[in-house]
Structures are given as C-alpha cells and as structure tokens.
C-alpha cells in the first residue's frame, strides 16, 4: 500500500510544486500516522499468521491458532512500529504513511536524522502519538516530537533523499 508512492513524480499538480519543502500541516501528518498505524497492524497480523502457519507445519495434528491477547499484540505493534519508524527515518526520512502523503522528516540541519535521534523520536511518537496535533497550533507546524528533537516534517514529493547528518546528538 505504500509502494505506490515510490514512483517518481515529474509533473506536480497545480499548487503542489511551490509548496515542496515547506513544513507540512496537521492533516497530512495525521493521515501519514493513520497509514503507519494500519501498516503496523497489517505487519503484526502478518507476523501472527506466519507464526500460526509455522505452528501448523510443525504440528499439524495439534494445530490451534496461537492465543494473542490485545495487550500482547499492542506490545508487538509498539516494537514493530519503533523498528519501522527508526529504519525509515534514518534511511529515506519517511515512513510508509509519510511516503503516501509525500512527507519527509528532516533533522535540525535539514538533513536526514541520525539513528539515535530517529530511535528516540520513534519511541516518543509511539508512546505519545497525540503530540502530533501540536503541529496544528505551532507557528512552525511543529509537533511535540519535533520540538523535542529539533526535527521538522516537510512536503517532499521527490524521491531524492537528502544527505545524512554527521552530528547525531539529539537535542532537547
């Protein structure tokens, strides 16, 4: 579902080209977050199905679906989300949801964020996702996590990935 945004966009619709690189608003970012949550849910479900299949292949006769409590699933989802967000932000700067919505996370110097900063921000985001809505009020469209880690989320439909940052010390 996120792979569709991987294609290059040579011609932008009217009004989109001049807004590239500007800080994104709360609606786009919320959309990206919803997509990310759904993506993580699908991944957790896929993992559960894979585990069930493994169990079936292992003991087909005694096969029963593995029991998964909601809290347990939430923990799995939390871990998966942190991992995915960390990898995505350090790699291309955008998660699956951000890729669909054409957003990119930039570090304090406008470059990609480092691993530590990305990991800490991912943990923060998953633990306190409502912090995103501060971007609706913030004069710079900054969420709580942006304020903490000095990051910013911008419109960036281009496939070109910005340079990685060398100083990876998180601020705040």
């Amino acid at each position: 579902m996120s792979g569709a945004a991987a294609t290059s966009m040579r011609a932008f619709p009217a009004g989109a080209a001049e807004r590239q690189g500007l800080r994104a608003g709360v609606v786009s970012r919320t959309g990206a977050m919803v997509i990310d949550i759904a993506y993580v849910g699908v991944l957790v479900a896929a993992g559960y199905a894979a585990y069930a299949g493994f169990r079936f292949l292992r003991k087909p006769a005694q096969f029963t679906f593995p029991e998964l409590a909601m809290a347990e699933a939430a923990v799995y989802g939390y871990v998966v989300a942190v991992l995915i967000l960390t990898i995505s932000w350090t790699g291309t700067g955008r998660s699956a949801g951000a890729r669909v919505m054409g957003l990119r996370l930039l570090g304090p110097a406008g470059a990609r964020v480092g691993l530590v900063r990305a990991f800490l921000r991912a943990v923060t985001c998953v633990a306190f996702p409502l912090g995103l809505f501060w971007s609706a009020v913030s004069k710079r469209n900054a969420s709580v996590h942006d304020v903490i880690f000095g990051t910013s989320v911008v419109y960036d439909w281009h496939d070109q990935v910005p340079e990685a940052r060398t100083d990876d010390a998180p601020t705040g």
């Binding site: 994104a24 304090p108 406008g110």
Partner: protein, 351 residues
C-alpha cells in the same frame, strides 16, 4: 524515282572542265570543212608530196613540222578520247542519250580530235608558207642532189616519227589514262562541292521505298550478335548510368498500384512460413528485450500515483485550511513554513 539530270542540265556549271578545241570545232564548221575533209586533204597533200620527184627542202621541213604536230595532236586526241570516256562513265547509261546527238562526251571527244587536226594543218600550212619563201635561198646554197637526199632523209625521218608515234600510242594512251585517273576524282570533288548531295538525296530519293526493299532478316542473319555483345563493356555502361536519376524517374507508385496484394497473399503459403519460424524463441527474445516487471511497476505506479497525488493535494489544502482557522482563532500572523537551517528548537515551541 526521278533520275538525276546531270547530263541534261541546261545550265552548265562553271566548274565543268572545258577541253581546249571545243570552240574551235565550231570555227571549223564555219569554215565548211569536216573531219573527213581534213583527212582527205591530208591524203591529197601526201600524194602531192609523193608525186613530186624532187620536193623543195622547205616543203620537207614543213612536212616534218606537220608530222610533229600530228603526233602532238594524236596525243591530245587520245587524251581527249580518254577524258570523254571517263566523263561518259560517270554519267547514267542511257542508250538514247549515249547515241544521241546531245551526248556531251561524244561532242567533247569529237571537238578534241577536230581541234587537234585543225591545229596540225594550220601549223603545217604556216610552215609550208615559210618554206616556200626561204626555200629558193636554201636551194641555191645546197646542191640539188644533196637536197634530194636531204628530202629523202626528211621523209624517212617523218616515217620514223610516225612509226614511233604509232609505237608509243599505247604508252601515250596509258599516260593519259593515269592522268585522267587523278583528274576525275578532282572533278567529282568539285561537283560534290557545288551540289548539295544531302539535300538532293532528301529531295529526290524515296528512302522508304529503298528500306522496303531491304531484307532486314538477311542482314540480321549476317550479324553476329554474340560478337557485338562481347565487345560491349557492360560495367562501363552501368558505371555511367545515373542511378539516382533513374530511381527518381522510376514509376514506383504506378507499379505498386498495379500490384494485387490480395492475390500475392493468396498465393503465399503462410502456414509454411509460420512452420519455419521458431515462435517460442522469438517470444523469449521479445520478453527478454522488454523489461516486463518495470512495465507493470510503472503502469500500476502511474495509476496509484494519480490517486496518491490527489490525496496529497487534498492533504495540503486541508493543512492550509486548518492552519488558517487556527491562526485566525489565535489571531496571529501567517506561519513560518520554511524550515530554517539549522532549525534548532526554541523555547516558544514547547508544547
């Protein structure tokens, strides 16, 4: 076909060779003396000379002179005869004209002979007149007997000369013939210069009639086509051909219009052609050439791209709308959307 009236031409061209003596024959006719009369007169004079037992020395000199003149006249007559024959041979054979009084060659020959005899007699008469005048003085100086011997010697000399003339007559004729052999071509050339033969042939000759009589098959039978072809350098001819111009003037459109494509296809064994094709191999090569995964990726990507772009644009518009509403509620200026570099967080950004 009309005959070319060369001999009957009323106006004689200027380049016609006029034989000397041609006019003198008329003078002779005016005198009322014919060629036969002249011969008879000669014989009579000979009889007179023979009749006289002791002719005067002057008359003997005159006889010698007359004999010399006759020799010259004979030579001239032979030349004139040969010239007349040569001229006659160049004219068309027509019995009526050859024997008729209007035959110019015969007239020229007769004129030449008459002129020669007349000249000889005139010279002889003049010499006799001189001899009659000078003769008595010579007789007085020379003894009569000696004179008689001298006369006999002169008569013998004349006979010798006459014999020599007769002996050398053939040689003279031959010399004259060779002279005419070189003269006739000159005359013919002069005639050709004056007469436009091409125009004459074009006007008078019915070429079509001649061509109708020509047996083309017989000519072609004698032509060795292979030998002709062997002598033709095809490569050189081809090298000289302007292929570009040839191709330009080639009516390709006309030929293509005339080709019945349906008929050509109907005669084509398509099944045999397909049997000879390795379709599986061709299909594999085509698939190898086409990056099918990339095609699928791009086509599906394009479809998804439009949807994604729509969602993104709508998200942008919603972002702006929310921002304006919030800004209006908070009563503040427009937001700083351009990320600063480095964009360090500030205190006022605290949640």
């Amino acid at each position: 076909m009309d005959r070319i009236p060369i001999g009957d031409h009323p106006d004689e061209p200027d380049n016609v060779v006029r034989l000397p003596g041609a006019g003198e024959v008329e003078d002779r006719a005016d005198d009322g003396m014919s060629y036969e009369d002249a011969l008879a007169a000669d014989a009579e004079s000979d009889d007179d000379e023979d009749g006289t037992s002791a002719p005067a020395p002057g008359s003997q000199v005159a006889a010698l002179l007359e004999q010399g003149m006759k020799v010259s006249a004979g030579l001239f007559a032979a030349g004139a005869t040969a010239l007349a024959d040569a001229l006659r041979s160049t004219m068309p054979r027509d019995d009526e004209e050859a024997t008729g009084p209007k035959d110019p060659a015969a007239t020229l020959a007769g004129a030449g002979l008459g002129a020669a005899v007349t000249a000889a007699e005139a010279a002889a008469g003049a010499a006799k007149q001189v001899a009659d005048t000078v003769g008595p003085a010579v007789t007085w100086l020379i003894e009569p007997r000696f004179a008689k011997d001298a006369g006999e010697m002169a008569a013998g000399g004349a006979r010798v000369l006459d014999g020599q003339w007769k002996a050398s007559q053939a040689e003279m004729i031959e010399l004259a013939t060779s002279f005419l052999g070189s003269l006739v071509p000159e005359i013919a050339r002069g005639l050709a210069d004056q007469v436009d033969l091409t125009a004459l042939v074009r006007e008078r000759v019915d070429v079509n009639a001649i061509v109708e009589d020509v047996d083309i098959d017989r000519i072609l039978d004698r032509v060795d086509i292979d030998a002709v072809i062997d002598r033709v350098d095809i490569d050189e001819i081809v090298a000289r051909v302007d292929m570009e111009r040839l191709a330009r003037s080639f009516p390709v459109e006309t030929i293509v219009d005339r080709v019945d494509v349906d008929r050509v296809i109907a005669r084509t064994d398509l099944v045999a052609i397909i049997d000879r094709l390795d379709l599986a191999e061709i299909a594999e090569e085509v698939i190898d050439e086409i990056d099918l995964p990339r095609l699928v990726r791009e086509s599906s990507g394009m479809m998804a791209n439009e949807t994604v772009q729509t969602v993104r644009v709508q998200g942008m518009n919603a972002d702006r709308l929310v921002s304006r509403v919030v800004d209006k509620v908070l009563r503040r200026e427009a937001r700083e959307l351009l990320p600063s570099r480095p964009s360090a967080p500030t205190g006022d950004e605290a949640p």
